[in-house]
Amino acid sequence: PLWCDKVLLRASRRVEIAYFSHSQITRLYSRFHSLDKGENGALSREDFQRIPELAINPLGDRIINAFFPEGEDQVNFRGFMRTLAHFRPVEDNEKSKGHDASEPLNSRNNKLLFAFRLYDLDRDDKISRDELLQVLRMMVGVNISDEQLGSIADRTIQEADTNGDMSISFSEFIKVLEKVDVEQKMSIRFLH
């Protein structure tokens, strides 16, 4: 459709173009369009929930949430691409690609921040015991008792918490995951 061209032209002026090639953007737009049942140029949470594989993912709702900016119910194509850009693999030659001094969206740090925000629902830059419990409960469903889950949460905080405030800050989170190959686990190989 003609207005697709306009979106692409507008998008090309944005930073997101640095993360995807022209053909990748076109295919992502095609995907965006096929998910957009209301055909209004934006996706709602229901549009995401219509994907069966996402609906059965225990963290499905949190992942969907990550696409929507604070307090908003719609995500446009630019926002869609921006969130997906976090999952581009990190390449060595990318260091020279930065348009400005800010860190690329798919850096290790930003990938970790994405994961951190899956836990930190209230965005206070701390994962509290409650927030941890919520995510744990989403992942195990009804299969583990409250007590056992509580002790798992307590032990996890104990391992990670270095400043004794009974919650996990972003820097503590980074420390906990320092041996994890985050670049590989949080990367999706886009073709073409």
Binding site: D5, S23, Q24, T26, R27, L28, S30, R31, S34, L35, Q49, R50, I51, P52, E53, L54, A55, I56, N57, P58, L59, G60, I63, F67, L84, F114, A115, Y119, V135, L136, M139, V140, G141, V142, N143, I144, S151, I152, A153, D154, R155, T156, Q158, E159, A160, F173, V176, L177, E178, K179, V180, V182, K185, M186, S187, I188, R189, F190, L191, H192
Partner: protein, 389 residues
Amino acid sequence: MKLICSPLCLSGGIIAKEPVSLEQEIQEPRGGGGEFDMSDILYFCRRGVESIVDDEVTKRFTAEELESWNLLTRSNYNLHHISARLTVLWGLGVLIRYGFLLPLRVTLAVTGVGLLVVLTSIVGWLPNSRMKKYLSEKVNLMCYRICVRALTAIITYHDSDNKPKNGGICVANHTSPIDVLILASDGCYSMVGQAHGGLMGFIQKTLVKACPHIWFERSEVKDRHLVAKRLSDHVADKTKLPILIFPEGTCINNTSVMMFKKGSFEIDCTIYPVAIKYDPRFGNAFWNSSKFRMVTYLLHMMSSWAVVCSVWYLPPMKREEGEDAVQFANRVKSAIARKGGLVDLLWDGGLKRSKVKEVFKEEQQKLYSKVLVIKTEGLLLAWGPMRSS
């Protein structure tokens, strides 16, 4: 000013998915000393985002994307204006298809359906006898063949010695209502379906006079036992024609075969699987019922270049000892998928309209819980009693 883009190469997916299972990825050594690892969410996170970019299910409910354009506007998804010459070709195509092919085909279709109704009514008046069956078969075959011509369907039948016989059930993958025409023009079947009103209902009532089709009222469809009983009774009568059923229950876009409903596989009889594969270059045969009404769909079909397809009659299958209906259904489905070159999916075609059941999410949660419990027990053995918080 028009954008000139190169035609997209749409072969393959947008992303390459890693075939790693939950257990494999989470068992790997990683951060933290406890049994729950904060990095465990990364697996679910990546899988979730992968499914947002490309999932196996939602793309089955829209027409297949083509590698190169086949000069039909409706297949023109991402390809913008390419060149003036192509536009001229396309314009010529429109003239030929709508000005010449379509009127010709519509005339044939009307003739075919009209003849079908008239002749089956006449045959229907005859008393039940071998002559009636013989005439009914001949009439049906002839009229369906006219209808097939009306679509310019070029069908290649393979392995015709495996054709369904009386007392059996023929199952096939479902892409469009035309599937019925394609099979019925090469053999005689008893059809199963819901009784409609209007023109369709009238045709159904006429057809059933000459041939024992099985039409269910809307209320009866819900009653599985009733349905099963009527089907069983039909196959038990060896003089009756084989039943034609599409176990997916809905139209899928001919790139995959989705879950077969187990109802037809619970009946004790021989199953004759059939694989139908359309060539998408000549026209899109998939009926997207949420987007197009039946009449619009038929119009699209009759204004395409042609309907080219292959039909494979697979060797008959029976339920084996110790195999339940679901396993049998999956076995038949795999055989059909393999023969037709289609992707074999376990997902339910009903997901086209309804939400996925909670129980599948619960399975994922159970799987993760198992892994977590195993890790906890492993740590207990390694480190002794748990440290108090």
